[in-house]
């Protein structure tokens, strides 16, 4: 099988996590276990405090902590190549590991755009040297994200592309999208879509509603997204193509996705932590960290997204981690670039707001935060004997202030900055190696 995830080789973990509460919804496992990892592979799941310390390995006290399958994020911007002042593969994957993620899919709207095989090949090589967690790459659908000419999709697939997207921009022309979907029969690969009708979103900078009316900011109406979800679902159904809708933000899009799934179209959708927890009310502060595309919408939209995530209409969580430098965001709201970072806060934000808030069960949250890779035909992390160790250990009781201890990301434009969240990642194992370890654990007892 062609290699589609790329990372730096990590030393295989030799580790016993004692008495940790393992929650793997797909295995219907929700109990305390000793988790033994040998040579980077889950060797044994045994009753708590039953396993002896492994020779030459480390023992971690897991009591009072939870272990989840490693989280996966099918939508991040790692900014390499060309915008390394915002983020690079090293810092972006470090942020991912700090957030409990064991695999990522990076978007191609870099500089240059990932629109030909040499750029992609060089990016994969860089990931093999720098990425702390496995990263897959999408290539662009159209050259230079211009919306006018298809990329060499077949060659890009051979070079390792997981799929295609013009993320950051819609494929405005229905005819162009149709050609890409037809071409998918030759080359495979999921086509992921940023849905926005530019004629409706125009020069908008936030959700169109009472808050935009008050602030005098140009609005982006919900229908600019939902009409495109409906349009492209119809085209995908007609061509029997596989399409994934990125960062859905509004109740109308949920309705369009529901209808498309009921009609049998091969479509899936993702939602972002910020859309699931925040509304346009926070934009009253005019803090540019709350500026993203699609924008934060109304409370009714937020609730519809949570319900769709719970029911499975929306298949998975994606962060749309979008780092920007401080000087780019320290400008009036209308001039600031769109985007928030999200890898380091995704789990804690969703756990605090949705699970502790009583809107979503923890097991469902974990299922949706680990579902993104399967949508791109990649394996889903599991905590089971014989599997590579892809897991995170989390202290669900720990409260922390976002940003107080700095960020692993190179950028600090996080929409949760300054908030107190609950749930802290202590350890992340990605593809068998330790990708992240909280500072307080660095002094963990080593057993000879």
């Amino acid at each position: 099988m062609k290699r589609r995830l790329f990372q730096r080789e990590l030393e295989p973990a030799e580790l016993l996590i004692r008495g940790v509460h393992v929650l793997d919804p797909r295995a219907e496992l929700d109990e305390e276990r000793d988790v033994l990892i040998r040579s980077g592979v889950v060797a044994e799941l045994a009753p708590p405090d039953s396993l002896p310390a492994p020779a030459g390995g480390e023992v971690m006290d897991g009591s009072g902590k939870h272990a989840f399958p490693g989280l996966v994020d099918p939508h991040v911007h790692l900014r390499t190549p060309g915008q390394e002042y915002k983020e690079d593969l090293r810092t972006g994957t470090a942020a991912a590991a700090a957030g409990g993620f064991c695999a990522l899919i990076a978007m191609p709207n870099t500089s240059p755009v990932v629109d030909d095989a040499p750029v992609l090949t060089s990016l994969c090589d860089t990931a093999m040297r720098q990425a702390q967690v496995p990263v897959g790459f999408l290539a662009s659908i159209t050259r230079g994200l211009g919306g006018a000419e298809l990329t060499e999709m077949a060659e890009l697939r051979d070079a390792g592309a997981l799929g295609f997207t013009d993320d950051g921009r819609p494929v405005a022309s229905a005819g162009m999208l149709r050609k890409a979907l037809q071409y998918q029969r030759l080359c495979g690969g999921v086509i992921a879509l940023h849905e926005e009708d530019p004629g409706l979103s125009a020069n908008g900078v936030m959700h169109e509603g009472t808050v935009s009316a008050r602030l005098g900011l140009a609005g982006i109406p919900s229908i600019s997204e939902s009409t495109m979800v409906a349009r492209d679902s119809a085209i995908a159904g007609y061509e029997d193509a596989r399409v994934h809708f990125q960062h859905l933000s509004c109740v109308e899009s949920v309705a369009a996705l529901t209808a498309a799934k009921q009609a049998g179209a091969r479509v899936s959708g993702e939602a972002c932590p910020h859309h699931l927890t925040l509304t346009d009310e926070v934009v009253r502060s005019l803090d540019s960290r709350f500026k993203m595309n699609p924008p934060l919408r109304s409370e009714a939209d937020r609730r519809a997204l949570v319900e769709a995530l719970r029911s499975g209409v929306i298949d998975c969580v994606a962060t749309d981690h979008a780092p920007h430098a401080r000087h780019e965001k320290e400008v009036p709201f209308e001039q600031a670039p769109m985007g928030t970072t999200g890898l380091e806060t995704a789990f804690a934000a969703l756990y605090t707001e949705l699970v502790l808030g009583g809107e979503l069960e923890l097991a469902v949250l974990i299922e949706r935060m680990t579902a993104g890779m399967a949508l791109y035909d990649l394996p889903t992390p599991r905590i089971a004997p014989g599997e590579r160790a892809n897991l995170c250990v989390v202290d669900l009781g720990a409260r922390w202030e976002v940003g107080a201890g700095g960020y692993a990301s190179r950028s600090e434009n996080c929409c949760f900055d300054g908030r107190t969240l609950q749930g802290r990642v202590l350890l992340t194992l990605a593809d068998g190696g330790v990708a992240f370890r909280a500072r307080m654990l660095a002094a963990a007892e080593a057993i000879a």
Binding site: A213, L217, G219, L286, V331, P332, F333, Q335
Partner: protein
């Protein structure tokens, strides 16, 4: 307790607005004297930073500061380092070196004034930030109306025209409501922002019921709106929404923030009619802006101590 900045009408409660208007009234008397100066801000510096073209707002702020004996520095975006691509933050840090007591800022961008307030120690006065707010315009309009009517309680005010692109409309709706007036907005449906009712106003699609208004406040209709297809033509706009003497009852007062497009949103006969307060609005500008500068930089507690 007085506020440090004037960014939004929401920074002021009704008592705060009335305090400023009362003080403006006493400053209006200063403007009637031969020597039009008081020493309130002697030795202090006021920076006027204008990123957009402006005649009446910039000149009245400059006059207001000078009549309070402040040293005034006026910076316009054209011909300054802003023209050379300097960021707003860097410009503010540069100007902060002069230790200004107040920075008056006009910007094409929403929220610029509140950002500036976070970047320096000066009092910041919003002289218009994009389509967001223009609080001193609202104050001078309330001042003008209060002089004409005695008060705004129960007064029915209609705001007519391009509400979507108007910072004046937003500040004025809020200020008129705070002062007890009822506000209705009307204009082409393409130029009425969805959700504007949340500011506390009613919306009417036509001027059919304009007769209910005690005050008709007309907004400027910019020519470029036609090219952006918000309206099919200025001719059609004028046919449906232009305020003329024929469309006004003699008891109704007419206002406009200026500059007027004669023959578009207002007919010539309406502009020159005795019920128009447009000249009064301009005259009020200096006294009200003196009062705002005084309120922020000197404030009530010190005045009380002096008295």
């Amino acid at each position: 307790m007085t506020a440090k900045h004037l960014i939004s009408i929401e920074d002021l409660d009704r008592a705060g607005i009335e305090r400023i208007l009362d003080r403006a009234q006493s400053f209006a008397e200063v403007s009637g004297r031969e020597i039009k100066k008081v020493p309130a801000l002697r030795g202090r510096t006021v920076v006027n930073l204008f990123y957009e073209a402006s005649t009446r707002t910039s000149s009245s702020f400059e006059l207001a500061a000078k009549r309070l004996s402040a040293d005034v520095v006026s910076v316009r975006s054209t011909g300054s380092s802003v023209d050379k691509g300097e960021s707003l933050k860097d410009t503010i840090q540069t100007l902060s070196a002069y230790d200004p007591a107040a920075i008056v800022i006009r910007s094409p961008h929403v929220g610029a004034a509140s950002l500036v307030a976070g970047w320096c120690d000066a009092s910041v006065i919003n002289a218009g930030d994009g389509k967001h707010e223009h609080p001193t315009q609202a104050l001078l309009d309330v001042y003008t109306l209060r002089r004409a009517l005695g008060g705004l309680d129960g007064v029915n005010i209609w705001i007519v025209g391009d509400v979507l692109h108007s910072r004046v409309a937003r500040s004025n709706i809020l200020a008129f409501r705070r002062m007890g007036a009822e506000v209705t907005v009307t204009g082409p449906p393409t130029l009425i922002p969805r959700g504007i009712e949340a500011l506390g106003c009613a919306v009417q699609p036509t001027i059919e019921r304009l007769g209910e208004a005690d005050v008709v406040y007309v907004l400027r209709m910019q020519h470029e709106r036609m090219h952006e297809s918000f309206i099919p033509s200025l001719r059609e706009y004028a046919a449906r929404y232009q305020i003329s003497s024929a469309r006004l009852a003699p008891r109704q007062l007419l206002m406009h923030p200026g500059p007027v497009n004669r023959g578009v949103e207002l007919s010539a006969d309406a502009i020159d009619s005795p019920q128009a307060l447009i000249g009064e609005q301009v005259k009020a500008g200096v006294a009200v802006r003196m009062a705002v500068l005084y309120e922020l930089l000197v404030g009530t507690p010190i005045l009380a101590a002096v008295a």
